[in-house]
Amino acid sequence: MLAYIVKRLLATIPVMATVAVIVFMLLHLTPGDPAALIGGDLATPEDLRRIREQLGLERPIAEQFLGWLWQVLQGDLGTSLFNQMPVSQLIAQRIEPTLIIGLTIMTFAVIVAIPLGVVAAWKAGSWIDQLIMTLAVIAFSMPIFLIGYLLIFKFSVELKWFPVRGYQPMSAGPTKFFPHIVLPSLTVSFIYIALLTRMTRATVLDVLNQDYMRTARAKGMTTPRILAVHALKNAAVPIVTMVGIGLSSLLGGIVVTETVFAIPGMGRLMIDAIIRRDFPILQGVILVLSALYVLINLLIDLSYSLFDPRIRY
């Protein structure tokens, strides 16, 4: 297994290099000039040149890229063009809320969706199955921002149970930390509960029709044991894959939720950097997210052997 892990980690190098080149080139070919935003409408071409020079944007693209690459190899992701903070510090400020909320969403989704999916598969075609699937379609179809605003209105403005906005780190203590993650996590959970429920139902339904399930029933095993031990374990690989993909996409993809709840996460950091053409931040964030994506996929691949003994690395 160690050899497999090393091989997979080495394989990430060309992936990351490709990501780095594409991101760098795309950004620098995009119209928009950070110097223009700094210089204002009175800036003369000479002023803009001086600002660009100070920002290091006057150098040829290849030189800028190589300079940035050399920095990255030394563990330095660069400095923001606007606020002068190291990109690594900005990412460190933002990664906790994104990771915590992403993990909370997926944990909650797994706890709710898997039993629902299993029950729906078990009672396939019944009113219970139809009810669960209808709820899943509704949850999947509801825009995230709408759910977010509805939750804010009910639980923050009316009932005053949770804060409207913001994030408090874990270090601030549970009474400050927990209230801030409840509504954002709940908001995005709906869509993942719906997705996982449908996925679980489909895979468990497939497993339930296998011969060995008939054998298990013939041996007199109880339904809960059949579902939990045999059906779910055999259906786990696609479900775990789905969880992994969901978690990966949550890391960079909860921009809407971060915006609705004013959470300073990675998604907003990235969007702000795009708007401002703050190239070092954007390059750094995408690189870190790509690395996390690759790492999560590796962990998911490794976890397959836990559910399916035929898979060996």
Partner: protein, 530 residues
């Protein structure tokens, strides 16, 4: 009652208790902390290097100025204690107030002020003019300095009191020696609040703490002048990207002041007894139509005039707000209600849309249906609606308009491009500005008419206007008004740019807030919470 029911009830009770505890924690807000939900965040903390409004607003918290305007537009001393002007008006000597210190505890000196003025003069147009007019700016003692002019300059004090970006904020000499084109590394001011850099999360919040060593002036606070008394221990500048969430945070009491509430939520906020909604900025924003004067067809005055004849300001203002109290038609380039804001426009211009007349003017101009690129910043809540109205009007008079729609940052970079449209240039686009610079003839960038290199975007060239602007700089105060009027008349005659009205954005704050100062800039001294 069985065990299961008891357990469920106990769980329910625990849930309620936890929720109540959470609620208390969530809404608990220290009386000494003031939270301001701004319409955008503070991304650059050097108010000289960056011309963004928010960098300037951050500057007013942290830094102090030598002079300041009061509500009657009179220049009042701020950091300066006394000053003298020689009879020939060429030597200005200043003495600082006793006891002024920087946030690091060191005293403010004349040398600090000299270095700060010189740095500001690298980036500001009136600062550049002051530096050019000055033979010498030097410290004359630990707490004094002087400006010796080579030629008359009628705006020494008002330049040092200016409120538009960049503001001549004072910084310690070692910091102010940084080039104006390079960002400073340290934020050390002598203003009423200190910047808490370790708590700064760009894109989310900036925190300021009361500077205990600040010695406010004894006069009562009056606009930018008078005593700047910090009445709260901590000021948090928070950025809530969703306007609806920001409004909810205000209703829930999580923020004290919401800078720009969304217009569709204004009725909700107005009906809330805990919230006050009003315009704090007495002048608001002016929206305008900028032409690219260096390329056809708007290098032709008649084509520009044809566009001005399509303007009915209320049409442009109505798309910004349906509340008539928040806007007013205004034909002054300097903002109505300000010191120079007189209406000297030709009769009916800008108030009465006349498409037939505009078509005739366009036909007489020689316009042959050339493509006109209209810039549209689709993500800007002010520019985009104005663009839509402008697009309709240009079409209505038969112009061949192509809309170039993209995000505001790209549009801003595009507007600086001087190339013709075949090479990605532009012809026409809306813009807006607040009154801090545009209410002063020399600082109104859109009135700069020196052509390429000596004008702002659009690069108009008009010698009469430039001569008047130069005269304005040298003129004594008593003559400045008449020159300002003449500049306006020349600008109308040249159809320099189109005014589409004055729009006052409403602001909303908790009724517990006291002492808010009416100003185009959000000010936090004098503010307290009941």
């Amino acid at each position: 009652m069985n065990i299961r029911t008891s357990f469920a009830r106990a769980l329910g009770a625990a849930g309620v208790a936890i929720a109540a505890g959470m609620a208390t924690a969530a809404v608990a807000q220290e009386k000494d902390t003031f939270r301001f939900a701004a319409s955008s965040d503070i991304r650059v903390i050097d108010p000289i290097w960056s011309l963004e409004y928010n960098s300037r607003n951050h500057g007013y918290l942290v830094y102090d100025t030598l002079f300041a305007f009061d509500s009657k537009f009179q220049v009042k001393p701020q950091m300066v204690d006394t000053w003298t002007v020689s009879d020939d008006k060429l030597r200005y000597a200043f003495k600082l107030r006793p006891g002024l210190t920087w946030h690091d505890g060191t005293p403010v000196t004349g040398a600090d002020c000299v270095a700060s003025i010189k740095r500001w003069g690298q980036r500001d147009s009136i600062g550049q003019a002051l530096i050019a007019a000055a033979g010498e700016i030097k410290a004359t003692g630990a707490d004094s300095f002087e400006i010796v002019l080579k030629e008359p300059f009628g705006h020494v004090l008002s330049a040092l009191a200016k409120t538009g970006s960049p503001v001549p904020f004072m910084m310690p000499e070692r910091i102010a020696k940084t080039s104006g084109f390079e960002q400073i590394k340290e934020v050390i001011g002598s203003g009423p609040f200190m910047f808490a850099r370790d708590e700064w999360v760009p894109g989310d919040k900036a925190v300021y703490k009361k500077f205990k060593g600040y010695k406010p002036r004894s006069e009562p606070s009056d606009f930018m002048a008078g005593g700047k008394v910090a009445k709260v221990e901590r000021m948090e500048w928070v950025f809530i990207p969703s306007a609806a969430t920001a409004a909810a945070a205000l209703i829930a009491g999580e923020v004290d002041w919401l800078e720009h509430p969304p217009s569709d939520l204004l009725p909700t906020l107005q009906n809330n007894k805990d919230i006050t909604v009003r315009a704090v900025d007495p002048f608001g924003m002016q929206t305008m139509i900028r032409f690219n004067h260096i390329h056809p067809p708007f290098d032709n005055e008649k084509v520009r005039r044809a566009v001005l004849q399509t303007i009915d300001q209320s049409e442009y203002l109505r798309v910004l707000s349906d509340d008539k109290r928040s806007w007013e038609p205004c034909r002054s380039f300097y903002f109505c209600g300000t010191r120079f804001g007189k209406d000297v426009a030709p009769e009916q211009l800008l108030f009465k849309k006349n498409l037939d007349e505009a078509k005739k003017t366009l036909a007489a101009s020689g316009y042959k249906g050339e493509k006109v690129v209209l810039l549209d910043a689709v993500d800007d809540g002010i520019l985009h609606p104005v663009t839509v109205v402008l697009f309709d009007n240009l079409k209505a008079i038969g112009m061949n308009v192509e809309l170039r729609a993209t995000d505001g940052a790209t549009i801003f970079a595009l507007m600086l491009k001087q190339e013709p449209i075949a090479q990605g240039g532009w012809n026409i686009g809306p813009q807006y500005a607040d009154s801090t610079n545009y209410s002063v003839p020399f600082l109104n960038n859109a009135l700069r008419a020196g052509g390429v290199g000596k004008a702002s975007i659009g690069w108009p060239k008009n010698e009469a206007i430039e001569t008047l602007r130069a005269a304005f700089l040298k003129a004594p105060e008593a003559e400045q008004g008449a020159i300002a009027d003449k500049i306006q008349q020349e600008a109308y005659a040249a159809s320099l740019y189109g005014l589409t009205g004055q729009y006052k954005q409403l602001t909303a704050y908790r009724t517990s807030v006291e002492g808010l100062i009416d100003s185009p800039i959000p000010l936090f001294w004098n503010v307290s919470k009941k």
